[in-house]
């Protein structure tokens, strides 16, 4: 996948650089307080996701990792009406509930991947479907990943059936300093991207530092060609966004005071609208960044302009500045053992996650890969064991936070999913053994309490439109 990305990027580097003019619109709607008219629609492509029907289900005799560090041996999990009802040692089965004896098996919250390109870089990886990098300019905060999501990507099904992935964030690629908005999806096939959108999940902004932007644009003789060029363009972009926000803040105040005239409304600019969302704290920042020194530069930049970096992604060198990340409340989303595919990935260690955890920093696993997303549980198992070998002993159930509540927090959805707390979405995986073993696979996966995968039932195995009528249709994969 990395190889494919680099190829795609090299090809894109030859294409012309289009300038996107500011988008002006008089269409209004939203969030003004008081009695004034809303200024514009903040959710013009709303989620149409609806949970599928489920039955009240009680799974008994299982080892439960609740996703927030809790563990119950020989425990039970009950969910109904799409929500977790109860997790405990023994739970009486309500009338009409399906009871599953899970002896020898494990139940966990569904896996959450904070960094995926499914739908935007789908299978098959042909140029016609390559929609993840708007590599026509280093600042492309105006693009939205959801407008590239192809909901028929066969990769969604593999992430579900082999990986137990129930929620995932689709991000634009990292060719640009500002890649655009990311979108959070429930891993449930739909005819439309809107049909997969996680209801109410905050938007994110994908940013990238380091080699990719400077390579893509520097090779064309454009800014940025260096890391200092990256920072300069980043900062100028934030200066412009701050000015945009100042105009809008002034206007919104007039609206609130009842003094606004239609002609007072500033022109809308999609790029700055997203950046203003970040400055207003409404949009999370998911920042691709490998090197420790660059993360430190970005942290200072975020303070310069008054925004918050939510998570550094890839963060190969996060272990070198685990204390700095903790002090600034910034998460690191990392791989277990990727290294060396490019210079900024040279200083990888297998123990990045345990070292972050030991320092008290917020850490999580991520995939960035349609194959890796099928084995995030195994990735955690690898790094967890490597950590233990160097004396960092983290219990299995605590390590599961790297797959559930921590990414949920960094995606702003921890109040709704990411752990098996009563009232949360019943995003649940029944594993056919210890999920930190290579020999274990998901046996059943529920999303919002609906059974979306059952290894025992070929009819509960999704097959995307693309795979219909093709060799291997409906195979176990």
């Amino acid at each position: 996948m990395k190889r494919v990305w680099m190829t795609a990027c090299a090809a894109l580097a030859l294409s012309a650089c289009a300038q996107t003019p500011p988008v002006r619109s008089l269409s209004a709607a939203t969030p003004a307080k008081g009695n004034a008219k809303p200024t514009f629609d903040r959710d013009p492509y709303p989620s149409t996701y609806r949970r599928y029907p489920g039955v009240p289900t009680l799974v008994t005799n299982v080892t439960v990792y609740d996703g927030e560090g809790g563990r119950i041996d020989n425990g039970s999990v009950l969910f109904a009406d799409g929500k977790v009802v109860e997790v405990g040692q023994t739970i009486a089965a309500p009338a009409g509930a399906t009871v599953i004896d899970g002896r020898g098996k494990w139940v966990t919250p569904g896996v959450i991947d904070i960094h995926s390109h499914l739908g935007d870089y789908p299978s098959p990886s042909v140029q016609a479907l390559s929609d993840g990098n708007e590599a026509t300019g280093p600042v492309r905060a105006e693009v939205w990943a959801e407008h590239s999501v192809w909901p028929q990507d066969p990769g969604f099904s593999r992430a579900l059936t082999n990986g137990g992935v129930t929620t995932l964030q689709i991000l634009p690629g990292s060719a640009n300093l500002f890649g655009g908005r990311g979108v959070t999806l429930k891993n449930v096939y739909a005819r439309t991207a809107q049909g997969m959108k996680f209801p109410g999940a905050p938007y994110s902004l994908k940013m990238a530092c380091g080699e990719n932007p400077k390579r893509v644009y520097g090779s064309k003789g454009q800014l940025p060609q260096t890391r200092m060029g990256n920072m300069a363009l980043d900062r100028q972009t934030w200066i412009d966004a701050t000015e945009y926000k100042r105009k809008w803040d002034a206007y919104e105040k007039k609206v609130q005071d009842g003094a606004a005239k239609p002609a007072d409304q500033p022109g809308r600019n999609l790029r700055n609208e997203t950046l203003m969302g970040v400055l207003n704290g409404e949009i999370t920042v998911q920042n691709h960044c490998y090197r420790a020194d660059e993360m430190a530069q970005v942290i200072d930049m975020s303070k310069e302009f008054g925004y918050k970096v939510t998570a550094f992604h890839h963060a190969i060198e996060a272990y070198k500045i685990a204390d700095l990340l903790k002090a600034n409340g910034i998460c690191a989303a990392v791989w277990a053992d990727w290294y060396g595919f490019k210079m900024e990935g040279y200083d990888a260690v297998n123990e990045n996650l345990p070292l972050l955890q030991k320092a008290g920093a917020c850490a999580m696993i991520h995939s960035d890969d349609p194959n890796g997303i099928q084995r995030l549980n195994q990735e955690v198992a690898k790094t967890l064991a490597d950590g233990r070998r160097m004396g960092i002993v983290i219990p299995d159930e605590v390590a599961w936070e790297w797959l559930s509540i921590n990414p949920a927090k960094a995606m702003g959805i921890a109040d709704r999913t990411g752990s098996l707390k009563p009232g949360k979405m019943a995003d649940v995986v029944l594993w056919n053994g210890n999920p930190l073993s290579v020999y274990t696979r998901p046996e059943k996966v529920w999303i919002d309490g609906a059974l979306m995968y059952d290894a025992m039932d070929p009819r509960r195995r999704p097959v995307s439109d693309f795979e219909l009528g093709q060799p291997g249709e409906g195979d176990v994969k």
Partner: protein, 432 residues
């Protein structure tokens, strides 16, 4: 650090190369398809295995290593990699995998680029990989060049067998290289083999191109051992129909010793592959229709091939194969996991282990040398802290040719330096 301490405790300070060594009390994996047996012993002498099994006597005077019930296996054989020829993929100066501006192709000898000191060698050695099949990547033609088999030892002589095979691309990428279509790739192949045969009969003057031919003389000369069946021809091919076409080439060039690489759709034509006695170095977990030539990709591919009687090992192609050979353990473990998924076809533990030991060795015709602990094989031995196919396991000791290897590398040194991230009395640069 713990790992190092354990090795020291097991071995003391003396090098093992020339000694007779007996590793006793092992959970022993021979690597030829069987499962582990408890209470096993491995005897090593002169860099070779002399005996392995239960009830094997410890020779008098042998140095005894008590494995304390731990898993002991042959070192792992990575069936298709670019190990030793790439330091950082994206840093062109360090990447010798391919030469897309060279006028030469089949002649390119990858063994000349192998650097035993590059960091991926030490990193993979520390995870139990002791041998690797190293293939070049294609440039201007479908012939990538001559691959090598290497060891991952600390010594400066990594190349075990140079010019061990020719690597050829067929399918989508070959179509593009050859001018735009699959037929163009086959035409390029046929022409090259005919010119190579002609060259073998009449080598003529050295240098330059063959008279009235398309090949350089060096390329033609390099193809002769392949045409004559003295070295295998490894062919990357994915689509079922392409595989059938490649199998058919043997009718035209009967001495070719084919080995398929990648082969995502091989399960669809498994009986033909078995009948042709062609081994496969397959991508283990490819299960996405990543291209139109891999629509039927499934993790059950290897299991189905094995069930059809095909010799099948795990190869990695277009899968971080320059650095991540160590993942083959995880891949093999996943094949075992499939045995518990209804409708999937996996492998039992012993056969899964063979896909990363004796099977790839056999595919290259080297199973008499490496890939198992049967008597006479090179003494590549790993002692593990757990089941070698389990993702939580790691080696506690690695031996190559009977020599104990360091498990330290850049990554373990960085880890140790930053075990506490804050600087101490001096900057981190002084800490090692």
């Amino acid at each position: 650090m713990k790992r190092l301490a354990l090795i020291a405790a097991l071995l003391g300070a003396t090098p093992l190369a020339a000694q007779t060594v007996a590793i006793t009390n092992a959970k022993l994996v021979v690597g030829d398809g069987g499962g582990p047996v408890d209470g096993g012993t491995v005897v090593i002498s002169g860099g070779r295995v002399t005996a392995a099994g239960r009830g094997v006597a410890v020779p008098g005077g042998a140095r005894v290593i008590d494995a304390q019930g731990k898993w002991v296996s042959p070192g792992l054989v990575a069936g298709f990699t670019r190990l030793g020829i790439v330091e950082v993929d994206g840093v062109r100066e360090t990447n010798d995998a391919g030469a897309d501006k060279s006028d030469f192709s089949a002649a390119l000898d990858v063994s000349l680029a192998v650097n035993p000191r590059e960091t991926p060698i030490a990193i993979n050695r520390a995870e139990g990989i002791t041998r690797a099949v190293v293939a070049p990547d294609t440039g201007k033609t479908i012939f990538a060049g001559q691959g090598a088999v290497i060891d991952l030892g600390m010594d400066p002589n990594a190349v075990m067998r140079p010019r061990a095979f020719q690597f050829v691309e067929f399918g989508e990428s070959a179509a593009a290289t050859a001018g735009g279509s699959r037929p163009a790739a086959f035409a390029m192949f046929r022409n090259a083999l005919q010119e190579a045969r002609g060259y073998a009969r009449n080598p003529g003057q050295a240098g330059g191109r063959i008279t009235d031919g398309m090949l350089t003389k060096l390329d033609a000369a390099a193809l002769v051992p392949m045409v004559e069946g003295r070295v295998p021809m490894l062919v990357h091919v994915e689509r079922a129909s392409d595989i059938v076409q490649v199998l058919d080439l043997v009718r035209e060039f009967p001495s070719l010793k084919l080995v398929l690489v990648g082969a995502s759709e091989a399960w669809m034509v498994a009986p033909q592959i078995a009948a042709a006695r062609v081994p496969v170095l397959a991508s283990a977990l490819a299960d996405l229709p990543a291209s139109f030539e891999a629509l039927a990709a499934t993790q059950s591919n290897i299991g189905r091939l094995q069930a059809a009687g095909v010799t099948v090992g795990i190869g990695m192609i277009n899968d971080d194969e320059a650095r991540q050979a160590r993942l083959i353990k995880q891949y093999a473990g996943n094949l075992v996991a499939l045995t518990r998924v209804p409708g999937a076809t996996g492998l039992d533990w012993g056969h899964a282990f063979a896909t990363i030991s004796s099977a790839p060795a056999a595919a290259l015709g080297l199973d008499g040398e490496i890939g198992s602990l049967r008597p006479g094989r090179r003494a590549d031995v790993v002692i593990w802290d757990g089941d070698p196919l389990e993702v939580s396991s790691a080696p506690v000791m690695v031996m190559i040719d009977g020599v104990e290897q360091s498990l330290v590398n850049r990554q373990t040194k960085l880890r140790d330096r930053y075990a506490v991230p804050q600087e101490g009395a001096l900057p981190k640069a002084y800490e090692r």
